[in-house]
């Protein structure tokens, strides 16, 4: 028991010496009226090709015109269209709808982080894991919050 306590103390003191800390926010996110520029930037940062189009394309290359399109993006042979209302139209055989919705959320999130220097995006089965190297001095300035 004594050994464990000493060991734990050592770990915490290493962290506090470094001054490095960690903190996690778990949240719920819904995209309603996505800002087009932000979404384009976010999708591109994930390595996804974005185009100005209202055409959805399925695996066989069949096209479907979509009303009220905001933008389109490509994943392999597929082209998905996002409408201004936040609906996604496309062929969800390979990339399921929940993955596409999570892709849009991830893109919005990536586009909303200031000071990004490098993006390392990994596609997962139902979403994404993205590591952003950021310039943390951006977060020293409290005036950034309008205080």
């Amino acid at each position: 028991m004594g050994l464990i306590k000493v060991f734990l103390f050592e770990i915490t003191s290493v962290f506090s010496n470094r001054g490095a800390m960690s903190h996690i926010s778990q949240l719920k996110i819904n995209i309603k009226n996505a800002n087009k520029k932000a979404l384009m930037k976010g999708l591109q940062l994930l390595g996804i090709e974005v185009i100005e189009s209202n055409i959805a394309i399925d695996y066989y290359g069949r096209q479907q015109q979509v009303n009220d399109a905001l933008l389109a993006f490509k994943l392999e042979k597929y082209q998905f269209v996002l409408t201004k209302e936040g609906q996604v139209i496309g062929d969800f055989w390979q990339y399921h709808e929940d993955f596409i919705q999570n892709t849009i959320k991830t893109a919005m999130m990536v586009a909303s982080v200031p000071g990004v220097k490098k993006v390392n995006a990994k596609m997962q089965r139902s979403g994404w894991e993205v590591e952003l190297d950021v310039d943390d001095t951006v977060y020293n300035q409290q005036q950034a919050l309008g205080w």
Binding site: M21, H23, S112, W128, L132
Partner: protein, 69 residues
């Protein structure tokens, strides 16, 4: 260099702030949430979780403050 890790899948939606100071974590969270709202997202914070090293750091900050008084 500090890192921000974003995980969004069917089971979780979270942001992990790695290598930030305690204050920077709070500022980063607020800036990101503000930008998300400006960009047209509805967001709700479900839970904020501080890892042990974060709390330890906070305690040290308080200690420093007491020493300087």
């Amino acid at each position: 260099m500090a890192k921000i890790k974003i995980t969004i899948n069917n089971t979780e939606t979270k942001i992990d702030y790695i290598g930030f100071s305690g204050k920077q974590c709070d500022v980063a969270e607020q800036i990101i949430f503000k930008n998300l709202r400006l960009n047209g997202a509805n967001i709700n914070l479900i839970k904020r979780q501080n890892k042990p090293e974060y709390q330890e750091g906070e305690r040290n900050e308080n200690k420093d403050l007491n020493n300087s008084l």
